[in-house]
Symmetry: C2
Subunit: 427 residues, 2 copies
């Protein structure tokens, strides 16, 4: 394979002609495919269908302490749900609060409450001239949207396969009291699928924040979302590390069952120190009379325990592993050695991160759209939607079926090639 | 019956001795009863148990537009849920957004968002020197807690059987741009069970607010919660009235199925103008990926339509009507003519409002607690927990069974008598 950058203008023009024809052929097919969001496929939803049968009209709907889950009460979660989510989160059930159906909602509310009421007695952020969040990039677009919504200044932190650039994190967190948080997806990160190394987690735990209300937003969305049985990433447990480092209150750990049971109909949880959870409880008792305990009970009776969750996740893995492999195969076959793109090979999570040549991501995504394949918007993986190199594209392979995914991936590589050739011809 | 106020000191002392003995006898029983919160009784929860069976492991879980309710999507509610909650709210489904399990949570979030982002482009309230809410009193404690939490100044508005004192509301709303809202439970109000008259609703619709971002928080929590088939209160539909009066954006109408299906596991909704709902959608799309659509589907398939809801509510009424009657019977038998208390006789809702002699409410609730009967805290029905006359007590008759309720009501009347005698002896 000859690298595109080594081709002559004539070679590029000939290649472009060929690719233009391929692209026209694809457009003529009138495809309508979606690789944009981290949505489970229908077959993944089917494996949780028995959850619909665990609570019946004649079931005992009391939790283990005898509280009737059909009525008001137990605002911070039934004990068995705390135990289950505690096991998933690798923390003691006492360090867990169970919330509603969306951990994103809890993150939003946490930022909102920090704005209006401050964190554990500190000045409300809305009274400060400037509040900043560190944003490892590329990252999760919905995290960035929350901090943007509240007018929080976002600072890009480059990601590496070991996690965020910790030199930069340490410097900014220790020197600037306006830095109040950092968004992290520490395991099978969105979008690269990287897992923070042991050293990275330890350096996080040993941060010396200038701001007493600095918090690590540790969105452990993919903690049990392995693709392989034998070859899994391991993430050091952060609460414990923070406590050992004398920073027990520095982290909020978020989790949910959205991509374990049903997206939108799962349960979410926060793991944190008692002091942090007491701070959460203060506003929770004003905000709501309580969350959906029947759904908590439904989850516990279906999964039973962590072993049940792992068994269930193996079924998910069996369904999505071929999709990740298919995309990787097509990318490898079509792009390897051409010097026009690199991509990650995650062992879990929901995404593959693709790096095109500089200045090509928007053009690739636009071409894919033109050809009937919806990708996550170029730039979405960066704060303010601004990818400084215009090179990152998030690939979400789970939602389409294998046949659709194969088509979509084939369209994608043609778009990558065409946009790259056009870029090189521009130069 | 002789009025207590007409008794001589000797008569009062003799009475006190008798009541002290009764109170001692009650305490000796070691009761543990609860008339504090508007919780449905267990028998009421039982009538919704078939809801557990409507979604099964082999059910089609698509909504009527073909969207799979198990997956992400449709953030503002599936069409059939909008239709059902629209019917309950008496508005067009286009004027409905479906939320999660708690309308209180939506009210909290609405105030929170008004604080940080403002209402429909107006200045965020956190940037204003002063924000005020009008609070018809006695009213719902959890409303007042929300505005207190956000540092909003609350102004008491006396309630009448026709609704809030509208002269006062009109004056304050039209003269003071700091008045941004009013809390209303317009039908079978909490705690009196009053329903706003047609004139009151029309005067609300014709308000001329000084503040462009003034909103009526119309918490229609008990819209279908009648006690009687034949003798029901009627409430004029406020959205329509506001539109006719040229104030289409002036009201948020909240509702939920908390006391229709299962408290904590129901679905909530907001009805409002398109402009207001678009304002809601702006933050919703940042706050969450969506609410629990399976629970929406579960509700629609169980209730089917408004007729199904009404049929279901008749079952609730059959269970709680005797409780309201029992309390009223005991209060009438024991207190009528004594001049030491008055109470409401609601035709729906969840509460009876009791007015003791001035300065007695705290003492009555304290005595009841001493005797093993938990009541809503005295003062809770007023902003900041401060009942200026110390006379209002909210009675919640639904949760105890009839036998417990009878015991609790009997304890209550003894406490009322004893506290009243003690008050008169003090004078």
């Amino acid at each position: 394979m000859k690298k595109y950058s080594e081709m002559s203008r004539e070679e590029l023009l000939a290649l472009k002609k060929e690719l233009d024809q391929q692209f026209a052929d694809i457009k003529a097919q009138g495809l309508s495919l979606d690789m944009s969001r981290g949505k489970p496929g229908m077959d993944q939803l089917d494996i949780s269908m028995e959850m619909m049968d665990v609570l019946k009209g004649d079931s005992d709907l009391k939790c283990e302490t005898g509280v009737d889950c059909r009525n008001y009460g137990v605002p911070d979660g039934i004990p068995e749900a705390k135990r289950l989510l505690g096991a998933i989160s690798e923390v003691d059930p006492d360090n867990i609060i169970i919330f509603g159906n969306s951990s994103l909602n809890v993150m939003f509310d946490t930022v909102a409450r920090s704005m209006t009421h401050g964190v554990m007695g500190n000045t409300p952020w809305c009274k400060l001239d400037k509040v900043k969040f560190l944003c490892p990039v590329p990252g999760y677009d919905r995290h960035f949207k929350i901090t943007e919504f509240f007018g929080i200044e976002m600072i890009n932190i480059p990601m590496t396969p070991e996690g965020p650039d910790m030199d930069m994190v340490e410097k900014l967190v220790s020197e600037d009291a306006a830095v109040k948080g950092i968004w992290c997806v520490p395991k099978y990160s969105n979008p690269q699928g990287y897992t923070y190394s042991e050293e990275t987690v330890k350096r996080f735990a040993h941060l010396k924040p200038a701001a007493p209300d600095f918090r690590i937003y540790w969105d452990n969305a993919y903690s049990v979302h392995h693709l392989y049985d034998e070859d899994q990433d391991f993430l050091l447990e952060i609460l414990d590390e923070c406590a050992k480092a004398g920073n027990p209150d520095m982290v909020y750990k978020f989790t949910s069952t959205s991509k374990i049971s049903f997206p939108g109909s799962g349960i979410a949880a926060v793991a944190a120190s008692k002091a942090n959870l007491d701070d959460f409880r203060k506003y929770m008792q004003i905000q709501t009379i309580g969350h959906d305990k029947l759904n908590q009970l439904r989850h516990v009776r279906f999964f039973k325990d962590l072993a049940g969750v792992h068994e269930h996740m193996r079924k998910h893995a069996a369904l999505i592993r071929p999709k990740f492999q298919l995309v990787d195969d097509i990318l490898t076959r079509e792009l390897d050695g051409l010097g026009i793109g690199e991509w990650t090979k995650p062992k879990g999570g929901y995404f593959i991160s693709f790096e095109s040549m500089e200045g090509c991501a928007k053009a690739i995504v636009a071409k894919a759209k033109e050809a009937g394949v919806v990708m996550t918007g170029a730039g979405a993986t960066y704060p303010y939607g601004k990818d400084p190199k215009d090179s990152n594209i998030r690939i979400a392979p789970t939602y389409p079926d294998l046949k659709e995914l194969e088509e979509a991936a084939k369209v994608f590589v043609v778009c990558v090639k065409l946009a790259s050739v056009e870029k090189l011809l521009e130069a």
